[in-house]
Symmetry: none
Subunit: 97 residues, 2 copies
DNA sequence: CCACCTGTGAAAATCCTGTGAACGCAGGCG
DNA sequence: CGCCTGCGTTCACAGGATTTTCACAGGTGG
């Protein structure tokens, strides 16, 4: 998948072979997104996969973690735009930046 | 449906497999139109499906969103004419441009 | 030509998202 | 235990995006 490799079984995400320093939640979120490339995933879906259960109203956990993930991906892959926002719906992972 | 694929359950409309960037309203309107191909739908019907309830007199929401939808479809599928105007009545979606 | 309708840009109102920060918790360690 | 560190959760708020509304040019049909 381009320069990014996600290996759930190894609890790792690699960029050009170098492991990213992601926390458990960040990795879970990345794995969940990357398992459904080009698919628009709602916050509810993402929350349910990563946190389990349903988010409470006004829960911003998904947003906050997307933000942190983007920040770390930006650092490792400057100029890439892997996670797209779909306003009012959720997020979409696009392997090609 | 030609090069356009509408997937309401996935909150997505694809052209040649690539997701269009539609807002929620735009997508709802496209879905509603595309669910009744070749059928002339009145503004009232469209409004009721997308916005719910009845439009107030002189409400132009449907027109405005048809315009935006056409614009985005034109950009993704130059030369296509998927949404036809029926004067004094409403709009009709025609899968073959 | 007239009355009415539609297309579209733009302003105003509303809603949503990105992000920094605060807080609590749990584990490691002296 | 007391302190420190890293992580997860929640909150606040500025800025961005969407929705609604309005205005007006241009089209349509009689």
């Amino acid at each position: 998948m381009g320069r990014l490799e996600v290996r759930p079984e190894e609890h790792a995400a690699l960029v050009d072979g170098r492991p990213l320093c992601l926390t458990v939640r960040e990795l879970q979120l990345l794995v969940t997104l990357a398992e459904h490339p080009q698919r628009i995933m709602t916050r509810e879906e993402l929350f349910s996969e990563v946190w389990g259960g349903r988010p409470r109203r006004d829960d911003r956990s998904v947003d906050v973690y997307v933000s942190r993930l983007r920040s770390k991906l930006r650092e490792a892959l400057p100029g890439s735009r892997l996670i797209h926002t779909h306003n009012g719906i959720g997020y979409r992972f696009s392997p090609d930046g």
